[in-house]
């Protein structure tokens, strides 16, 4: 069960299916952040374009997306992310909160973080806009505790190998070329893309997470909305 959407639930069921992908990782506590960032950044690399610049007569051009390598400190692993400090900050904030929640009381180290891509469908007043998800990525995390340095060293490598597999899985999904929102007109662009960043333009997304307690039930359901104007009417 995932957190509720920020928008009012639509009266009619969404007409399109939202494809969902689930990844699972077991990591040491200090590896949580890097592992989550690696996965989220890899997904967003594929789900971000350059900034659109609309011109007269409905044409638009697309800006350029830069990329950079990121080395992990606690995992033998490196990944590529989009060169956007704003995007990186937003992800780090969400992942940081997730990590803190995992460490908090009531948690036995199990939780999941979700990255959902959605489209907005404007409704007439007084109804608020609908948020219709079209792709959902869920990363299930199991935090392990290790006894000594040797185990930690092995864990560094094992988690690195696992993340390599996850990257390959993500790329496989991306390569299916399944549904993507159609390219919007200028008036519709904010219903499809997050245009608030100055250098790149990811599809509209939101990140949420939940922690399971030792009983296996969901204790904390927290939504972190990373789009400033999602609720703006």
């Amino acid at each position: 069960p995932l957190s509720t959407r920020c928008c009012a639930p639509s009266s009619a069921a969404p007409t399109m299916n939202c494809r969902a992908e689930v990844l699972e990782v077991s990591v040491e506590g200090r590896q949580v952040e890097e592992a989550m960032l690696a996965v989220l950044h890899t997904v967003l690399l594929h789900r971000s374009t350059g900034k659109f610049h609309y011109k007269k007569e409905g044409t638009y051009s697309i800006g350029t997306v830069g990329t950079q390598d990121v080395d992990c400190d606690f995992i033998d692993f490196a990944y590529v992310r989009v060169s956007s400090e704003e995007l990186d900050r937003a992800l780090r904030k969400a992942v940081g909160e997730f990590k803190d929640a995992l460490r908090g009381s009531g948690s036995d180290g199990m939780g999941q973080i979700s990255l959902e891509f959605y489209q907005k469908k404007k409704s007439r007043w007084p109804f608020s806009d609908e948020c219709i998800p079209w792709e959902l990525w869920t990363i299930k995390v199991n935090v392990v505790n290790l006894a000594n340095e040797q185990e930690r060293q092995i864990c560094r490598e094992k988690v690195g190998e696992k993340l390599c597999e996850k990257i390959i899985n993500i790329v496989e999904v991306m390569n299916r070329h399944e549904y993507l929102p159609k390219m919007p007109t200028q008036s519709e662009v904010d219903n499809v893309f997050d245009t608030s960043l100055k250098d790149v333009q990811p599809y509209l997304y939101k990140i949420s997470y939940q922690i399971t307690d030792s009983l296996g039930t969901s204790v904390t359901t927290t939504m972190r909305r990373l789009i400033k104007d999602t609720l703006a009417l």
Binding site: K55, Y60, G66, V82, Q150, I154, I167, K182, P184, V200
Partner: protein, 549 residues
């Protein structure tokens, strides 16, 4: 589209896309094996020179090599573009690590929009390539190249040759893009013998050091193109090659979401930079001169009403594409260049000259250096008179500097030689044994012919001088690591085992505390007896002493 067949403009655009996709693919792969972190900036304003809306720099030599290999052709069925990544040690042994294949198959997608969907999917595929190039085993190897080995690339066009990858190689698919003329497939076949080693860390059997002979055979297929080091760039000052330049081919893309009644094209200027005044075989400034703008006189108008075809992901993409250049435009930039623009890796490089030709990596991160005293564990026999360095082990030939990993050996007894793993070829893939003293030392043939002892380990001094010429250097780094290509069950190597055992000889029994204490106890016990005997013979002793005087 109005036509069901591919229009000529579409065809031209498609060919151009495929050509530049191939070039960018090569750039991404080679740059991912340079051994350094890549970073490019996002730019919200399109510059017109960033193909596929991605900031991928163009290393001129790489583009040159790719164009040479393609020789004006495009990937087609049976004609694949391959980028081969291999590793070459400082002794000249080489091994293929990966083959990246850009192939075309016959499965056509007639319905797909060339100028929009194919272009964007090619962009997505390049992003996938960026991601995948970091997760194959060769990536980590390439990040640590410089001292012991270098990573080379070779581009060829034609049939894919995978036999050099050894048995059991694995394949990862980066992705596919359907086009009206065929489906583009990008994949990587990579050697797993190295990766296999990492799973052996859980085996408790001591690793067997051996030489994998098949790694050292000559290449089965003589290279049609020479190998090139990925990190070709030498020092910044006297660079033989120009710095990375922007793509000198214009890619102008403009998209439309509304049905234009007329054709509108965005014209962007190409960013041409005057090449630095060095001899180079790379792309030259086009004949026409510097920046230019061009007008596309013929337009291609493609509009698809949104009502067409539910279920198609591409519906409702009216596209106005202004990409591509007029065929008449004279912007061919392939300049006849010098052959062999990249220096060949010398087959037997002395350590010093290798530094000249290739960029030397900085000393490896994460390794902490501490100079231990010359007294190794073998010299801790405090009971005896043996002075430091006079024990019979080969250590007296060397002053050893032990590299320690911080915090790794806290529970080890003091008198065990503790050595950390230095990053060497495939070290990360080598089994990490629980008991580090079980690690095999690496035995390298010494670089200098004056070397006295064949048991000297790697003689690389880790100082910044970067030159080590054998035993004329007093400072040696005694490294306990796995030798390159040595993990092989088939061929056990006695020398390594011998060296390992010999390196940690047991203490002399007479010098161990227990036995010493025991004999001392015995001595003390027998003392009264001995004194009595001596007293009995005191007269004889006195007489003897007198004879001496």
């Amino acid at each position: 589209a109005m036509d069901t067949d591919l229009s000529s403009q579409d065809r031209k655009d498609l060919d151009k896309f495929i050509k530049f996709f191939a070039l960018k693919t090569v750039q991404v792969i080679v740059q991912a094996r340079l051994g350094e972190k890549i970073c490019t900036r996002s730019s919200s304003s399109p510059t017109g020179s960033d193909w596929f809306n991605l900031a991928i720099k163009d290393i001129p030599e790489v583009t040159h090599e790719a164009k040479k290999a393609l020789a004006g052709q495009l990937p087609a069925v049976g004609r694949s573009m391959c980028v081969e990544i291999s590793l070459k040690t400082s002794e000249g042994d080489s091994m293929e690590l990966e083959i990246w294949c850009l192939e075309m198959n016959e499965k056509c997608d007639k319905e797909i929009k060339v100028s929009y969907t194919v272009y964007n999917r090619l962009s997505l595929l390049l992003k996938s390539l960026l991601a995948i190039t970091r997760v194959t085993p060769a990536y980590r190897l390439s990040r640590k190249q410089g001292h012991e080995y270098v990573i080379l690339y070779r581009i060829y066009f034609g049939e894919v040759q995978l036999s050099g990858l050894g048995e059991g190689f694995q394949t990862v698919r980066v992705g596919t893009v359907g086009t009206p003329v065929g489906t583009i497939t990008l994949s990587c076949a990579y050697r797993i013998n190295l990766a296999f080693m990492s799973t052996r860390q859980f085996e408790r059997t001591p690793p067997i050091m051996g030489i994998i002979i098949d790694h050292f055979v000559d290449r089965p297929y003589p290279s049609s193109s020479p190998m090139h080091p990925c990190n070709y760039r030498a020092g910044e000052d006297n660079a033989v090659y120009p710095s990375v330049e922007d793509s000198q081919e214009v890619c102008t893309t403009s998209f439309s979401t509304s049905p234009p009644s007329q054709c509108v094209f965005t014209v962007t200027k190409a960013h041409f930079q005057t090449p630095p005044p060095v001899v180079t075989d790379t792309l030259k400034v086009p004949v026409m001169g510097l920046a230019f703008s061009h007008q596309l006189s013929s337009s291609r108008l493609s509009y698809q009403p949104a009502a067409l075809g539910a279920g198609s992901a591409d519906m409702g993409y009216p596209v106005l594409f202004a990409g591509g250049l007029n065929a008449a435009h004279p912007h061919q930039l392939i300049a006849p260049g010098k052959e062999g623009g990249v220096p060949p890796v010398p087959s037997q490089p002395a350590h010093g000259t290798q530094a000249d030709q290739e960029r030397m990596c900085t000393p490896l991160d994460g390794v902490h250096y501490s100079a231990a005293t010359p007294s190794s564990s073998e010299d801790t026999e405090t009971v005896s008179n043996s002075s430091e360095g006079k024990c019979g082990s080969p250590h007296d030939l060397l002053e050893t500097i032990f590299i320690r990993k911080v915090g790794a050996f806290v529970n080890k007894p003091i008198n065990q030689v503790t050595m950390a793993n230095l990053d060497i070829p495939f070290a990360m893939f080598a089994p990490k044994n629980v008991e580090l003293e079980d690690n095999d030392p690496m035995v390298n043939p010494p670089e200098s012919p004056e070397t006295e002892s064949p048991l000297q380990g790697s003689l690389h001094s880790e100082g910044s001088s970067g030159s080590s010429t054998g035993n004329t250097h007093d400072d040696f780094v005694m490294i306990d690591f796995k030798p390159a290509f040595s993990k092989d069950d088939i061929l056990p190597m006695d020398l390594g085992t011998f060296y390992r055992e010999f390196q940690n000889p047991p203490q002399l029994s007479s010098l161990s505390i227990d036995i010493g204490a025991q004999s001392m106890a015995e001595d003390l016990d027998s003392l009264p007896e001995k004194l009595a005997v001596h007293e009995k013979n005191v007269k004889e002793f006195d007489a003897f002493v007198e004879t001496l005087q």
